[in-house]
């Protein structure tokens, strides 16, 4: 039962039955944006013409502002830190794109090392089953196949779903995924033709998504060679040093910790932060090791394409979702940047 089939007419049953064991999330339209949110009915989901969510779904496990702990000045528990982590709800997310799931896998590596585990990330992540939707019509800004991924990439997903028109074909990839599929009464054994149709879709998407740049030379060059390339001045010239690229990116994960204090007490909050900003690296002395936008822009691309691969067995820190390409106010296109790094 590696593969199972669900008639789209039964989506309501699927969501109802799944909803008995966990919260069901899916892509929902909210104003101009598409985001993942709880759904109670199949019609809540914006699947018609769905490309991807506006913001990356990292915000589900790593919210832009997250309360860590709180403290009070007076009373019995004065000056004692209280853990403010919300109990994670068990959820299944339908419609996650393979690129974003791959990004979760990269963040898993980063939020855990041999000494520490970031419980804020993992408590929510572990309570979630990811039901991904293979991309049959990638956007022109997408480039997953250039960064070792694929429109039907299975890494990071629990279930991969293929849209066959009348049916969805479910491919369970993990124990969590198999349990989810097994718990739905309206799942049927697929025909050979269904599986064949899935393979055709997969191949078609792969053909559309041609490799747009190589990363072989980036791999071969030393850090210092890349660091001292002339290209960084030109690449950074138009940059506004806003944080759009970092905040919409599914793999950017830097944060800043702030104590928000009042007369009565306070809260410790962690907020997204971006290496594009001057304040990110300024020291208490006033010295800033990344004083101009050249150093800041270089950092972001070096991190994704050199530092992460060096530390994580060649894994590239970019999944090719294209959000930064589409949303950068001045059209700094990461594909063009990597082409220059790889020249």
């Amino acid at each position: 039962m590696e593969y199972m089939r669900l008639n789209k007419k039964n989506m309501a049953v699927f969501i109802e039955e799944l909803g008995r064991t966990c919260e069901v999330w899916g892509p929902v339209k909210e104003g101009e944006q598409v985001k993942y949110a709880p759904v109670s009915n199949a019609t809540d989901m914006a699947l018609d013409g769905f490309k991807n969510s506006t913001m990356s779904p990292k915000e589900i496990f790593f919210p832009q502002s997250e309360k860590m702990l709180s403290f009070r000045r007076e009373g019995e528990d004065a000056n004692i830190y209280r853990d403010e982590q919300a109990q994670p709800t068990k959820k299944a997310i339908f419609g996650i794109r393979p690129c974003d799931a791959r990004a979760f896998r990269i963040l898993d590596m980063i939020f855990k090392n041999d000494q520490f585990t970031d419980n804020y990330w993992f408590s929510k992540r572990d309570a979630t089953t990811l039901v991904g939707l293979g991309c049959t019509e990638p956007c022109s800004t997408c480039f997953c196949t250039s960064v070792n991924s694929h429109p039907f990439d299975e890494k990071g997903l629990d279930v991969l779903v293929s849209d066959l028109g009348e049916h969805y074909l479910f491919k369970a990839l993990t124990k969590k995924g198999r349990e989810l599929v097994a718990g739905i009464s309206v799942m049927r054994e697929p025909s050979d033709a269904n599986i064949e149709a899935h393979m055709v879709l997969r191949k078609k998407a792969e053909d559309v998504m041609t490799v747009q740049f190589g990363t072989d030379k980036v791999k071969d060059k030393t850090v210092l060679e890349l660091f001292n390339e002339d290209c960084w001045t030109g690449i950074s010239e138009p940059c506004l040093n806003c944080s759009t690229c970092s905040y919409v990116c599914p793999t950017c994960h830097c944060f800043d910790i702030q104590d928000e204090v009042s007369k009565e007490g306070g809260e410790r909050v962690r907020n997204w932060e971006s290496c594009m900003t001057w304040i990110f690296t300024v020291h208490a002395t006033g010295h800033n090791p990344r004083p101009t936008k050249k150093e800041r822009v270089r950092q972001r691309f070096m991190h994704k394409f050199k530092y992460i691969p060096m530390k994580r067995n060649g894994e590239i820190g970019c999944v090719g979702c294209g959000r930064c390409v589409a949303l950068c106010p001045v059209n700094i296109d990461i594909r063009e940047v990597v082409k220059q790094m790889n020249s």
Binding site: G31, T244, N271, I279, P329, V330
Partner: protein, 318 residues
């Protein structure tokens, strides 16, 4: 090749070849439809990449102060030329080293309007003075150019540059008495509770990337109040009070200085109509200071920066 692009390249090449300037700030064709990239041409070959079309949004004046040690030519339509006047008045740039290639402007396209008007992903856009044609897989939609202009451009009354060394085209007719502030007036008419709810909803998608600030030529402070940590004026979380504080304080700082170039709104990745806030401030200035519009000439100072003995408000004298 459109006439403006042709002339811009010609002028830029001459300036660079004659060593009159070190760099020409303009736009290069973008990598995706509806986007151009700010471009810094340093030789004649690079000058041949300069373009002018309906996607030259943003505001090139915001790059100027970074080139104070260089001789610079900049391509400037009406709004950008007004911001240059402002930067000169506020002593941020050295006008001796500046050459302005003025562009009489016909308005920039609103990429969000175009994207919303078609049934799929746009892969190609062509335009002329009257029409814009958007193409994608299985569709081709022709629109009147006037219907898909940016919200600031469709009511702009200063399309011709107010300060320039040379023009890249014949001057265009200015629009007279456009309809302004419809939405702002509607918000003014709301009850305080409705207004608070409106602003909350307006700003709820904000991710505090500060693209609106970073795209704005008025925001040249070396350290913005919102980044300051000692003292910390503004909280850094997504708390709605902090988000609102950022937007309101920034809007106040634009009072009497905003040229309505629309760079803030164009830069916003979340499509927030941030000009509804700065526009309210701009409206107050216009109504309270004899219809003042920022920086239409080098002489007139913005009303909030001058003192008059006959000021009708007593508080400035007390």
């Amino acid at each position: 090749m459109p006439i403006r692009t042709e002339k811009i390249r010609k002028v830029a090449k001459k300036l660079l070849n004659d060593h009159r300037v070190d760099v020409v700030i303009g736009y290069k064709k973008g990598t995706i439809p509806l986007k151009n990239i700010p471009y810094f041409a340093k030789n004649a070959e690079e000058a041949d990449k300069l373009v002018w079309d309906g996607n030259c949004r943003g505001n090139l004046a915001s790059y100027l102060s970074r080139f104070n040690d260089k001789r610079v030519a900049i391509i400037a339509q009406g709004c950008v030329s007004r911001n240059i006047v402002g930067l000169i008045q506020e002593k941020q740039i050295n006008s001796d080293n500046l050459y302005i290639i003025g562009v009489p402007c016909t308005g920039m396209l609103d990429s969000r309007k175009l994207i919303a008007a078609v049934p799929g992903e746009i892969t190609e856009v062509t335009e002329n003075d009257l029409y814009v044609i958007a193409k994608g897989r299985g569709f081709e939609v022709t629109m009147n150019r006037g219907d898909v202009l940016s919200r600031n451009c469709d009511r702009c009354t200063v399309r011709n540059p107010v300060l320039f060394d040379e023009l890249a085209a014949e001057k265009v007719n200015e629009q007279k008495d456009p309809v302004r502030y419809e939405k702002i007036k509607a918000v003014e008419a709301m009850s305080p509770e409705e207004r608070a709810a409106f602003v909350d909803e307006l700003l709820s998608p904000c991710i505090r990337c500060y693209a609106c600030r970073d795209a704005c030529p008025l925001c040249y402070c070396p350290e913005c109040f919102v980044d300051k940590s000692s003292p910390q004026w503004c909280g850094k979380s997504q708390d709605s009070t902090d988000v609102l504080s950022y937007h309101l304080i920034r809007a106040f700082h634009t009072a009497g200085r905003c040229t309505e170039c629309g760079a803030c709104e164009d830069a916003c990745p979340m499509g927030i109509k941030v000009r509804l806030i700065s526009g309210k401030v701009e409206k107050e200035i216009r109504e309270n200071f004899d219809g003042y519009e920022a920086w239409k000439d080098l002489k007139t100072q913005p009303p909030l920066t001058v003192f008059k003995r006959d000021d009708p408000q007593p508080f400035v004298k007390e």
